[in-house]
Amino acid sequence: MRLRFVFSELAIGLRRNLLMMFAVVIIAAFSMMFLGTGLLMRSQVGITKAAYFGKLQVSVYLCPAGSVDPQCPAKASDEQIQNVQSALEELRPLVSSVQFIDQDQAWQIFKQEFRDAPALIKNTDPTALPESFVVKLSDPKRFDAVNSAVANLPGVDQVQNANTFVKKLFSIMNSMRNAALVACGVSIVAAAVLIGVAVQVAATSRRRETGIMRLVGASNLYIQLPFLLEGVLAGLVGAVLGFGGISLVKTLIVDGQLRPLLPVLGGQVIEWADVFGTIPWLLGISVAVSALASFVTLRMYTRV
């Protein structure tokens, strides 16, 4: 096999087909970017899930001072707080722990959680934060039992299930991930078709050469390899650009705009290691898809 020949044919082909290859590279880059985004989204869901695991708890918020809520005519009294606490303790063993958070602690937690949003901290009045009970359940699904036991007691503002929030968060993240993967699937199909067309155009424009090659007894490999490489090269460049795209997403969005949302995401976001971890997927899938698309096209259009 004379590689020099194959590569010179490849260079000629690329030169002749430059505009087509440009289109192929762009669509391949987009599909690989969607794929990478989907993969990273999946990693983020995993990270967030792990961070929230064990933190699934019920918060029973008590009436703060100056509330306009009709359920809270005044700040919860010590006696009311006592009543709520004993009502919760009665639910053992479903309730595994009950912790009282007073206003000081609430303020500390608030400052800690929103340390990346100083404006929010500055504009918040510490006395507006409600006192609460943080209740851990041995079975997080039986939130209703807690809710019905304390929701209507005097001094209770509202009972909030962190579980509901986490579920909602995950369903949002999952649907974003699915959207990215669907976009990836559609654009991969588009890229495959485009690669097929580009290879077909390349093969047709060089029909004279390939015709001679066939008749002087060049093997199929020799005839098809330059075209196959043309398709694979386009896919490969697309994957590299797609990786550049998700690196940009990591820098500008994950490490930029998403910073203030860090606590919501479980205090942790995807690392560069996760970003680099997508490389084998991007390269593997784009090379496989482009090779397959080129191969199938060549089988259909250049026969021995």
Partner: protein, 229 residues
């Protein structure tokens, strides 16, 4: 070298077969003219030998191999033993004469060293030793056909198939091409030439196979183009 056993070739959507129960044998080293009107089956004959087509019925043997049993990945190997020349030359316009001939060797993976030795030799044989650097567009028709013959012969095939090689050339140029094919034949290469050129066939006095409507109607050693009719 080439043997047809009861070969019939039907093309899809055509009621009449292109070749109809043809049996014949071409020995090693023979020079054979294939004559007949357009559509008589000459080109189909050549395409079957090249295994560009497969017979509908019967068997084609080339160089001792039954082409029906030849798996498709061995077809390139078969074609390396066959040289082909066409009426329209089929040269690559953006490659020089030398590069056109070298192309046939490059694509079958010959070494650069080998190509550098063989190409000038074969250009010398066809009488174009001093025109290796020219582009096909700068050459006359006869010279272009010599390049095509050089390309077909550079790999020393056992059989040279020529489909109307003089069809685009004037009579005096054609004589030169026929001398060249004759020389190649004398090196032991079997030559099968499809032609309409009565004058050439008559002057060469070689074996003539005449096809009519896909059937062999005449097979004459030292024949002429046609009975004076």
């Amino acid at each position: 070298m080439i043997r047809f056993d009861n070969v019939t070739k039907m093309y899809a959507q055509q009621a009449r077969p292109a070749l109809d129960d043809v049996s014949l044998e071409v020995e090693k080293g023979e020079f054979v003219f294939l004559v007949g009107a357009s559509g008589s089956g000459k080109s189909t004959f050549l395409r079957l030998v090249l295994r560009e087509e497969r017979p509908t019925q019967g068997h084609v043997h080339v160089a001792g191999k039954d082409l029906a049993k030849l798996s498709s990945w061995k077809v390139p190997g078969l074609r390396r033993q066959l040289g082909t020349v066409w009426q329209d030359f089929r040269l690559l316009p953006n490659k020089t004469v030398s590069q056109n001939v070298a192309f046939a060797l490059e694509v079958i993976g010959r070494s650069r060293h080998q190509i550098a030795t063989v190409v000038p030799e074969v250009l010398d044989l066809v009488g174009l030793a001093d025109k290796g650097g020219r582009l096909p567009g700068e050459l006359s028709g006869g010279e272009q056909q010599r390049v095509a013959i050089a390309r077909a012969f550079v790999n020393r095939p056992m059989v040279l198939l020529a489909d109307e090689p003089t069809g685009n050339l004037d009579p005096s140029t054609s004589v030169g091409i026929m001398r060249l094919l004759d020389r190649i034949n004398r090196t032991g290469t079997t030559v099968v030439m499809a032609t309409h050129d009565a004058q050439i066939v008559d002057s060469m006095r070689r074996r003539v196979i005449e096809l009519e409507g896909g059937k062999v109607v005449r097979d004459q050693s030292r024949g002429v183009y046609g009975y004076s009719s």
